[in-house]
């Protein structure tokens, strides 16, 4: 609802500073749900933490993994969450109930999981430390008898993905290994070409895009497991990260040769949305997906433009793989490949290695994080133009993962120390919001006063201040109508009906973000609030009020012991929430010192050193101070300034106040 009042440019402005950080366990990975209301993070301690992103508080903690959680993935409706861990298990969670739906034990440590975007029933992908990525049939696994199901039963629950084609004549595959990965469920042996490969679902989930250890991306049909295309990368660069944008028509592959490569997905691969966009004649043109796309609404797309994908025959594949001429690009489709290379993002001067990359919410920007362990450097590039626009520098902690809020201009970076930093734009106060008769000018304008404007007694002037009539209204856009509007309303409004009840559907995404209506109904956006009874200090307080005779049915005594755990959580929370960075200047220093100490204490055994905090202080001090001072002054000043002239005494009976 606030959209109408927000500055439309606010959501596309780039983050500038660390606004806050989340600290609960040592986060290693994270993911937003579709609307960005909940954030899931996986910790080194094996927990999955669900954050209520509006309050930045912990909404739930899911325990189940015995090793560090390496990846989390939301279902589209936000009701299920898949987590993968280095203990070689994946767990499907019912988020609302906080329970495990399914647990699968795989052959080796799980590096990355990806849940089918259109489930249920869910297939899922898991990239493993050893062996090729596997396709998990979660519904089959569930049918096969729950938690420990491992490929038995009628169907195979775990199936390795053939990223490297089976080549009987032992022609060297791009990965350097001829024998395919179509081995048995145990997966190919260690050292296999596809070992350690990554895989992600396309937006529709119809195809899987896999990144091989060395030098190629493979497009695989999810249903038939047939290879549709292989795209060779220059320098045989290893792919360390794969990420799609929200519309699903662009792919970022972070490669080990100091480049982040962007590919455009052919409509057939991008899925229905891509097809729709292509049909509209604007492929990849509109990144500003928050605007209204076509007028198609949520009507089912006929997708006429999409050619059915013809999987190549084995012979074609073998021939293509054996092709040594093509150094880069599609081996099967040439220029019209399923993945079209668009651009590289890199730091050509310093040859910075990249750890991971992400798209901004509107896909207009690409952000890359450097791979250095003791450096938090985020490069933000303009996606269509390719130029670098901003470098964000944070505490010297390294980056594990990036996530851009799906709707807002907020960038999250998961640091090596296990904190999640929230990068935001420095807020510039909108003064005209505080006082409607305040107009913000972009540049100086010369004001020509009327002859009698500042005369003491002006006949016909508006009010005792001698301001000209209508001056008060001149700030707002539609000044002219304002007066008339009031008059019309006052006259009893012979006009149209005023409907205060019926709600319009709120659009959070563009209309080409299809079937939102269907999904919106059962989307899980928030976890129910459970309030634990608080600790004792307040009980003492309430005792004072207990003198009242009415309170017969009350028992204010806090049950001791009940809060042991909750209290601990809360303490660490409070420490983690410390939102503001230490500010320059004596006054704030004290409290921040205390808070920093608390934060350190809360993490206790984790062995995190205070130096992290110190460094952060250096880095964040400037911005923090500016932001804080600005914000404070603004609030107070604005309130006072706007209302100062109109203050008046009001007879206010104490009864209303309840005294």
């Amino acid at each position: 609802m606030n959209r109408r009042l927000l500055d439309p440019f606010q959501s596309v402005e780039l983050p500038e500073i660390i606004e806050e950080f989340l600290d609960h366990g040592s986060a290693q990975c994270m993911a937003f749900n579709r609307r960005g209301t909940l954030l899931a993070s996986g910790t080194k301690e094996g927990q999955v933490v669900i954050w209520d992103f509006d309050t930045r508080g912990v909404a739930a903690v899911l325990n189940g993994h015995t090793g560090p959680v390496s990846s989390v993935s939301w279902s589209r409706n936000g009701r299920q969450l898949l987590s993968g861990s280095e203990d070689a298990s994946v767990i499907l969670w019912d988020v609302q109930q906080g329970k495990q739906v399914l647990r699968l034990q795989l052959g080796s440590a799980v590096l990355r999981v990806s849940l089918h975007p259109r489930g249920p029933p869910f297939p899922a992908l898991a990239a493993l430390a050893e062996g090729p990525p596997v396709l998990l049939d979660l519904s089959a696994a569930a049918a096969a008898g729950g938690p420990q199901a491992q490929g038995e039963g009628g169907r195979t629950a775990v199936e390795p993905l053939p990223l490297v084609p089976e080549a009987p004549d032992a022609a060297p595959a791009p990965g350097g290994r001829g024998r395919g990965a179509n081995a048995d469920a145990g997966g190919a042996g260690p050292g296999s070409a596809a070992s350690g490969g990554l895989a992600v679902f396309s937006k529709s989930g119809d195809v899987v895009i896999g990144g091989q250890m060395r030098g190629a991306l493979t497009v695989v049909d999810t249903a038939t497991r047939r290879i549709l295309d292989i795209v060779r990368l220059p320098n045989s660069a290893r792919v360390t990260d794969l990420v799609l944008n929200r519309k699903g028509d662009l792919l970022l592959a972070t490669c080990q040769d100091q480049r982040v490569r962007m590919f455009e997905l052919a409509p057939a691969v991008a899925g229905r949305q891509g097809a729709a966009v292509a049909a509209a004649g604007a492929p990849g043109a509109g990144g500003s997906s928050n605007g209204d796309g076509g007028g198609a609404g949520s009507a089912p797309m006929p997708a006429p433009a999409v050619q059915p994908l013809e999987p190549p025959t084995d012979a074609q594949l073998a021939e293509a793989v054996g092709n040594k001429v093509i150094k880069s690009g599609s081996l099967l489709h040439g220029e019209s490949g399923l993945l079209r290379h668009v651009r590289d993002f890199q730091n050509a001067v310093e040859r910075t290695p990249w750890r991971t990359a992400a798209f901004s919410a509107d896909s207009e920007h690409v952000v890359g994080a450097t791979a250095a362990k003791s450096q938090l450097l985020l490069y933000i590039w303009n996606r269509p133009l390719g130029n670098m626009e901003r470098i964000l520098e944070g505490p010297k902690e390294g980056v594990l993962q990036l996530a851009w809020h799906p709707l807002r201009s907020l960038l999250l970076s998961c640091a090596g120390t296990g904190r999640i930093y929230i990068w935001a734009k420095v807020h510039a106060e909108n003064w005209s919001a505080f006082a409607p008769d305040f107009k913000e000018l972009d540049e100086n304008t010369e004001y020509v006063e009327r002859e009698d404007e500042f005369d003491w007694n002006t006949p016909g002037a508006g009010g005792e201040l001698g301001l000209p009539m209508g001056a008060a209204g001149s700030g707002e856009g539609g000044t002219g109508e304002e007066g008339e509007g009031v008059a019309a309303g006052a006259a009893g409004g012979a006009g149209e009906e005023v409907d205060v009840f019926s709600r319009e559907r709120l659009h959070y995404f563009s209309s080409d973000e299809e079937d939102e209506g269907a999904a919106a109904g059962d989307e899980l956006l928030y976890l129910p609030v459970v309030i634990e009874r608080e600790l004792t200090p307040a009980a003492g307080r309430s005792e004072g009020g207990e003198g009242e005779d009415d309170g017969g049915d009350e028992d204010e005594e806090e049950p001791p012991g009940l809060q042991g755990v909750g209290g601990g959580v809360e303490a660490s929370l409070a420490a983690g929430r410390l939102a503001q960075f230490p500010r320059r200047g004596g006054g704030a220093g004290g409290s921040n010192g205390v808070a920093a100490a608390a934060a350190a204490a809360a993490r206790g055994a984790a062995g995190e050193d205070l130096s992290g905090d110190e460094e952060m202080r250096d880095v964040g001090a400037d911005e923090g101070a500016e932001e804080g001072a600005g914000g404070g002054a603004v609030g107070g000043g604005g309130g006072g300034g706007a209302a100062g002239g109109r203050k008046r005494k009001v007879q206010f009976d104490e009864g209303t106040l309840g005294r």
Binding site: M1, N2, L5, T37, D52, D54, T55, G57, V58, A59, H427, E429, A433, F434, A435, P436, G478, G485, G489, G492, G493, E497, V498, D499, V500, F501, R503, E504, L525, Y526, P528, V529, I531, R533, A538, R541, S542, G545, E546, E548, D550, G551, D553, E554, D555, E556, A574, R577, G639, A642, A643, R646, K647, Q651, F652, G655, T656, L657, G658, R659
Partner: protein, 370 residues
């Protein structure tokens, strides 16, 4: 209730109202079904629970009473505040209750057991108003005489944000239904809209003569903001355009107290039809007034005790009595009005010395022939 009590009230109460409503015959009758007594001081706030089964009333006698909305039986009493309670609010699933009190604190209660779960401290003056966000119930907004708006994380009890919102006491703080905005009103004459997530001011609404604003809330669809001002009017603001769409005056008196209002009828969940959707507000003469939202006419009244007695022989009161209504209305100003979420019921809280909570049933009447 054809004519009679309503007219007497209006004549004596609001002769000076700038915009006299051209009142056709009232078409909605309010019949007092329950008079709930028990509070020993003024009742500052009444709120139906989200499922409509309970009614909470907060009073200057420092307690909050929970009443069975159907029978009027007192279910529970929440005691713990050391000063009077100014506002109560239910969280969206009806499990918890928040109270704002003059002891500078807010408390969160378990509605079922009546246990105080948490005390939220931080305000430096009387806390005057509070509301949960309607979508998730994880945020609580409170407004105080310390002129700030505070947003609280309900789970942890932490204050997420303190906004120096106004230059006079904040008289109400309410969320839009999707939780993305908060509206605050203040005696400084301004209504401000805030972005929940960032705490930034989005818009300020005020009139040229800016009378103190005693109450503001979003309409159920959050397209407009309804406010009450201490010049005896209620206004419907189109906040996006920054102008008033409708003004409601003539049916109620309001110059001193912060009286809340509610919306009755027309909701999709409502299984009744009163002919129009209404703004229901309280009056300092002890009555209840209902305005047609679109036309601004007074379409119904719940009479004050004096007026009801006076017009005892009147056909309207007779009808009310015949229908089993409890005789009489409030004997003092109506401080709080709340509309039942699904039934045509309105709850009101009376000022000292009335101290009662009353439940009114609204029903459609055939307009009497002229």
């Amino acid at each position: 209730m054809a004519r009679g009590p309503g007219d007497t009230d209006m004549d004596e109460a609001s002769a000076d109202a700038a915009i006299p409503s051209s009142t056709p015959n009232p078409t909605v009758a309010f019949r007092c079904t329950h008079a709930l007594s028990g509070h020993t001081k003024a009742v500052a706030a009444v709120k139906f629970s989200p499922d409509g089964s309970l009614l909470a009333s907060g009073s200057a006698d420092r307690t909050v009473a929970l009443w069975d909305a159907a029978t009027g039986a007192r279910v529970n009493t929440l005691a713990g505040h050391s000063c009077g309670v100014s506002d109560v609010a239910w969280n969206p699933n009806g499990r918890y209750l928040a109270t704002a009190a003059d002891d500078h604190s807010l408390k969160l209660w378990d509605a079922e057991t009546g246990a105080c779960l948490r005390t939220l401290t931080g305000h430096t003056n009387y806390v005057f108003c509070c509301n949960f966000d309607g979508a998730a119930g994880h945020l609580l907004a409170s407004g105080s005489f310390d002129e700030t708006l505070r947003l609280w994380d309900v789970r942890s009890g932490r204050c997420l944000r303190e906004v120096p919102a106004h230059s006079d006491p904040v008289t109400s703080a309410a969320f839009s239904y999707d939780g993305s905005m908060v509206v605050t009103s203040s005696l400084d004459g301004l209504i401000r809209l805030w972005d929940t997530q960032t705490g930034h001011c989005l818009k300020t609404l005020f009139d040229r003569d800016s009378p103190p604003v005693s109450f503001a809330a979003f309409t159920p669809n959050a397209k407009y903001v309804l406010c009450n001002t201490l010049d005896g009017r209620a206004k419907l603001w189109d906040y996006a355009a920054g102008r008033t769409r409708r003004t409601y005056a003539g049916g109620h008196v309001n110059t001193q107290f912060c009286i809340s209002s509610g919306f009755l009828g027309g909701s999709s969940s409502a299984s009744f039809d009163l002919g129009c959707s209404m703004v229901v507000t309280g009056s300092e003469d002890g009555s209840l007034a209902a305005y047609d939202i679109s036309t601004g006419h007074v379409v119904g009244r719940g009479a004050a005790a004096a007026a009801a007695a006076e017009g005892g022989g009147d056909e309207g009161s007779a009808a009310a009595a015949a229908a089993g209504g409890v005789a009489g209305g409030h004997t003092a100003a109506v401080l709080s009005v709340n509309v039942h979420p699904s039934a045509p019921l309105v709850a009101t809280g009376g000022h000292h010395p009335d101290n009662s909570v009353r439940v009114w049933a609204a029903s459609r009447t055939e307009p009497a022939a002229a």
